[in-house]
Amino acid sequence: MRKAVHFLVTLLTALYLITGLGITEFRTVTPLTFGILNKALSQQLHSYLLVPFILLLALHVYFALTKKGLPKIERKGSVENAKKER
């Protein structure tokens, strides 16, 4: 699940950047994509990608925090418990 989210965030970040450039720099992006990604299509995709991108980014951040942050809290808790036990 984590790996899938990390991979999708990377993919969506790339797509979000490319479609954004397809709007503002269409004179470069459209020929580079052989005419497929024109300004209108870029803008449509860009607007569709916004919500999935934010959701996946939030999941990505959550996973990153739980992986590194939670064990610390657990350790701290266990030390306090250990002191109480003494």
Binding site: K39, L41, Q43, Q44
Partner: protein
């Protein structure tokens, strides 16, 4: 000091002053007026700058030689016209503050000055079956507007913005001021205005996915 202002020297200085004073105060007929600078406030409204636009035309800025320029009005009209730049400017001029909203997300509020599009169309005499106005630009761009929209909304064909002549990068000699429409309806560098009877005729961006009506309160995409 006394020697300089005394006698014939004083008279000589007086004559010089009489001769050159008008030149110093700008009263001479030989003084040329410079181009006016753009205004940034009009009747209490703050205006954007001519430089606040983002250049997003299909082929970059176009530079039109006005001495060879002609504006063609043709299609479903009784009397096709071919105006020179000065002939268009000879029409009654109008001005109004209108905001251009671009689909990219930016907008500019400008005091536009130009001629009424419907005045040009009336001179050409639109045929009863005409319902669509197609604008063609120097760079190959095209877009359409409904004829009724132009008649009912006093749409301008602008040649000045913020009191200065349209710069080449802003659409000199003429730009459509399609108020309440997205920026892709505001065609620049207009060379031809054609009346047709196909309301579904698609211009450059319309044929690539942008909405045919281009209404600000409507959808940006699709039909």
């Amino acid at each position: 000091m006394r020697s300089v202002l005394s006698g014939s020297n004083f008279v000589f200085l007086l004559v010089l002053a009489v001769l050159f004073l008008p030149g110093c105060t700008g009263q001479s007929s030989g003084v040329k007026s410079l181009n006016p600078s753009e205004i940034r406030n009009y009747q209490g409204k703050d205006l954007s700058s001519v430089n606040d636009f983002r250049e997003n035309s299909i082929k970059g800025s176009q530079y039109i030689d006005v001495s060879n320029y002609h504006l063609e009005v043709s299609g479903l009209v009784d009397k096709p016209r071919n105006y020179s730049y000065s002939e268009v400017l000879a029409h009654q001029k109008y001005s109004k503050v209108v905001t251009l909203d671009c689909v990219e997300g930016w907008s500019v509020t400008i005091l536009w000055e130009g001629v009424l599009m419907k005045d040009l169309l009336e001179e050409a005499g639109a045929k009863p079956e005409a319902n669509t106005v197609i604008f063609y630009a120097y760079d190959g761009y095209s877009t359409t507007l409904p004829l009724d929209y132009i008649r009912n909304n006093d749409i301008l064909l602008a040649y000045k913005m913020n009191n200065v002549t349209l710069p080449p990068e802003r659409g000199f000699p003429f730009q459509v001021v399609a108020e309440d429409k997205w920026g892709y309806k505001w065609a620049k560098w207009i060379t031809k205005i054609e009346l047709g009877n196909n309301p579904n005729f698609k211009g450059y961006w319309e044929s690539r996915g942008y909405n045919q009506n281009g209404d600000l309160n409507g959808s940006k995409f699709g039909n």
